[in-house]
Symmetry: D2
Subunit: 368 residues, 4 copies
């Protein structure tokens, strides 16, 4: 598939390799044309074991452990074990992620993290690859401030934020700033990791609460949709000051795929028509697609015209979960437009975002 | 439980007795202290059979067919078979409901219907018993216009409307008119009847569409929360003209119990605080409770303070499903207040509403 | 319901009060006519809190915490806190159950335990109340051997064993010894406690393994169906020596209610006919019913004639889950007869068995 | 993928193209290296429409309608519309399948059918491709008896039979005839087609009955495991006369993948050990693999050593569902050996079997 021999690939490491997100990274990276998975890190209880043994009883993927990963040794998450890597991906839980990711950055590794710890850091870009890769322009300033030559941290967004900011970005790019956003989520159980949600809590049930999730959507959306200042030293929330976001988050008995019902109003009048919005979604092209990075989907937004689509079970794996699905675009009697979004929370909502961010960083020269 | 001997009870009939809603009516009416189930109607394929045989293979209730109903004969839905009844309840599908219910009204029966056909009729009250029983004051005028002496039709609301109008009514009664309402529903499969939703459509899935449901919520809410004109000949939608309601409806893999996420803004400023809203919900008392009708719940609105409640599986049967559950009352960054509502779609959302409406009508003298 | 004033009731304690089984004990005992719940025990992390607070976030019952229990203090599981009790029920996990239950026995309390620890003890009766209450006749000898005056331990069976031994006992009582038994179980998630089974493991899935379950069924069945020696000092497995039992156990996405498919062959020829077996099930009366203990079901075995019943969701709560449901009785092309059994694993399969055992012990004089 | 240009492929038709099984055929045949899908048949209500329109609202596959099929016209199931085809696959329901398939045979088409109608026909082979392709040797005699030159009917087995006969065949091939077989199934909802199983029947539930299923397993197993007489004019059930099979069939809330718990005893003593049985499964190679047909799995039986595998959700798509999964091989206290089998009911259990049968027939010269 790629002409690059393994020796030409960039050596990458993976932190939190045995967890739910870590397993998705493994599947993304096992046969990546540009990255070679060279070192695995996990908790001390896993350290010293071959990967397939460390993950035994916890591997919950439909694909098997890739044969070229199965016998790789698992290390503790210390930079000394990742000396030959230039990049590390982090699927760590937020508990250990803070100090560990910082240690790897200080050891001059480029960290692409799925954890929440540095998302709010004013020096760290919070990048949804289909939305705001230009936020990486702050990386030289981040290095300068933390005193590294090559090391930095790039984060990607929470899975439920990721789904909605793609169509919201498309709307803003075409029709100008949004004014108000209401979003209600119906989120899959895989978002909570493993063992995560008890079956007694979710069979024949809906849980109308996910700790911290609503705050993340409301806050992250503003940072992601905001710009970066012209001197590339800070993100620009001012433009978004007036953007109001309200989220209600629910857990539903679905394995993968977050559904979100969105209502939006626009600042500019008249607001676009339903047909204009549909066209905007279909025509939305992102930089990740333009520069042709490996994991970018053919279509950033797949527009569904059937009245009962998208649906998690039928649409979450479309384009390997790398794009988002939008459907039921219609007028909102209270706001301007309403629609539903489906995104694959374990793909574009997690590992795929981190990997695509690294692919973009590579294409734009941030990894040299 | 009741001192009234069976001979003192009001004889009632049931149309659509074998369907999902009809089965709930059976359970409500089998040992009702004021009503005696005297005649059952269903489609011609069931006519002539004892009830337990007509419903065989379709009885999907946890309680068994009540012994005093099991051997009752099932008739076609023609008034001649209901001659000894003064009241009929209708669990008919919307297909046959229109002409059948009208025929029973013309035959001087009081019809309490769960079907949608007459909800939009300007002469027919659309009554959620915990919200707007005063709409029955139009009944004398309805009789006059359709030329009956005693016959009339009272409808109750769609299951997803019923859940939200109870807390919305409480808010309007205390804080004045609402301005805007956004609601997102996560609705149980039992709302679609039997066989209803295919398991292939809903296992590990969410379907973001329920035919006609969003329109019903948006329209019915305005009629129910509106008043009745002082001359009792029409409903007053004027007051509600400015009330904007937007709904997004979803089917989720839950057996019973509709969850709804609601955001509201008030006309009057300043808007009430979270604490004032909670107090308002807890203190809300309805006429059905004041006059003490049999099926009225002890508490119209049960306020949950736990951050992850209400939940369908744990809370839908509280008070036999006759009240509604509200939780997660909090500020909305876009509107004023947001909260979640859980109502039992097959109880207060269907049969219980019809029965409670009849109980109220009896208490207020409309059945004499 | 009972004329006994609270002062006349026997004071009982509950160990493991906050767990899944403990919660079911609470609901059984809160308004029991003969037992008064006087002391609650749980782990040290719960000790010192009122019950409702100790169980917060873990109470997963549809009924609320009973008002007369909510404010009861929770103690550590030490006999000194249960001084006024004559009986304790144990819903402890098998980890702590061994030494704790023994300590309570030595403190002269009668222990009725749902834990597995003493089931295999040759001095401890393993009693399914609808099957072998006569095994309690060993209790005087147990006391003598362990040196207590009143203290003893009675265990009840594993939930999946309990379901099948009721119809098997009925068959042996009527048609003589069984020869071979094959059983395949489809067990509910509640059998694994809370949080128990991860939703990622069981949604859209079956897990063909439950640790230790098959061995329990195979071993417990032999003890329960075996007799007690005439000198009341040991159980008689000899009679059952030839009884061969083979079990395959599976976890399915069902909340409550274990389904079991059973095939049996009889020692005596000719084997009974399908009609004789059905009649045997329907006519089966147990000592618990004869002596009229409070929790005994009206019918020990409910025979279903519909070809697709029993079903967990529709039949598990019949008779408050105190009996068992049998259906699809038919000839087996390999053995003699096959049928399915449904039992409520959290009722007759757990707390209800313990409570009914204590009621029987009370009726037969073992508690005085 | 294949060097054969489309003009070199064998033209095939598909009957019942819009149903659940038909959709799987579409996905198997859309890019098949040897077969070219040339004509589609369905009911008269679909006739005249392009496929994508005929199947609208009923296409429940995760993959989209293949682009080269979407615009193909749908015909009524009459041979005149399939004149250019040499082979037809049938995903018809048993209602129309009988006369329709016979009409196609008489029109000299080779029919590979998933319907049950001709499975019991003494002239029609009932072939599980991984088990008994040699049964096709009866085809010349079938043609002779029905008076065709090329036309014939080959059936494949019921989905729940297919899963178990693969390991049973492996055992008989290695250890000689089996004596007794008990099987309990836990079957996926997709086995019932669409809309099929009502969600109200299966959410939080198990249904212990599938109409006709137990009889099919008991009967089909004997035909498939039996041989063909030396003169190739009849199947030989004699050898299997003593083979006793007993099945209990259950529907569980799983989307795809039938789990089956099997206990077997052997005629020859001593019976093989657990290790010998495991080795036998792993080493089992079928003729479909030896002659290298396109859809044959690399491994006919995948042996799982983890104690809780196989599981439907994790293992049903292994090898594109073309093999079967066996796990938990262990001694049976009543019979000799017990184990669990998982097979993908919509792949090897349906369309894949038909297609693989045609591939085998092609390789063996039955299609020339």
């Amino acid at each position: 598939m790629s002409s690059s021999s393994s020796s030409q690939k960039l050596k990458v490491g993976l932190l939190g390799a045995t967890g739910t997100v870590g397993q998705r990274f493994i599947l993304q990276l096992a046969d990546h044309p540009q990255f070679e998975l060279a070192a695995l890190g996990a908790s001390s209880s896993s350290a010293g074991k071959p990967y397939v043994q460390a993950v035994q009883g916890r591997w919950k993927q439909i694909r098997r452990v890739p044969s070229n990963v199965a016998q790789m040794p698992v290390y503790e998450c210390k930079p000394e074990h990742f000396a030959e890597c230039q990049v590390v991906f982090s699927g760590l839980d937020s508990g250990p992620a803070g100090p560990v990711e910082d240690a790897f950055r200080k050891a001059e590794l480029r960290v692409f993290s799925n954890a929440k710890n540095y998302r709010t850091d004013p020096l760290c870009p919070l990048v949804v690859p289909l939305v705001n890769p230009e936020h990486m322009e702050i990386l030289p300033y981040q290095r300068q401030q933390v005193g590294t030559k090559t090391g930095f941290i790039v984060t990607n967004a929470n899975c439920s934020t990721t789904g909605i900011v793609v169509p919201l970005k498309a709307l803003e790019a075409k029709f100008g700033p949004l004014d108000k956003i209401l979003v209600n989520t119906m989120q899959a159980i895989s978002g909570a990791g493993y063992p995560g949600v008890s079956s007694l809590d979710i069979l024949d049930n809906v849980v109308p609460f996910i700790s911290g999730e609503e705050e993340k959507i409301e806050w992250e959306t503003a940072k992601i949709l905001g710009g970066i200042k012209s001197d590339k030293t800070a993100f620009d929330y001012h433009e978004q000051d007036a953007l109001k976001v309200s989220a209600q988050c629910n857990r539903v008995p679905v394995i993968d795929g977050h559904m979100e019902c969105v209502s939006v109003s626009f600042k500019n009048r008249p607001a676009p028509s339903v047909e204009e919005v549909k066209k905007c979604f279909e025509e939305f092209v992102t930089e990740a697609q333009t520069i042709g990075v490996h994991s970018a989907p053919a279509q950033a937004i797949t527009l569904h015209e059937e009245q009962d689509r998208p649906q998690p079970r039928l649409d979450r794996d479309w384009q390997n979960g790398a794009g988002v699905n939008v459907g039921r675009v219609r007028e909102c009697p209270v706001f301007d437009i309403k629609f539903v979004v489906l995104s694959n929370n374990v793909m574009i909502g997690a590992a795929t975002s981190s990997v695509m961010n690294a692919e973009i960083a590579l294409a734009k020269g941030y990894l040299s």
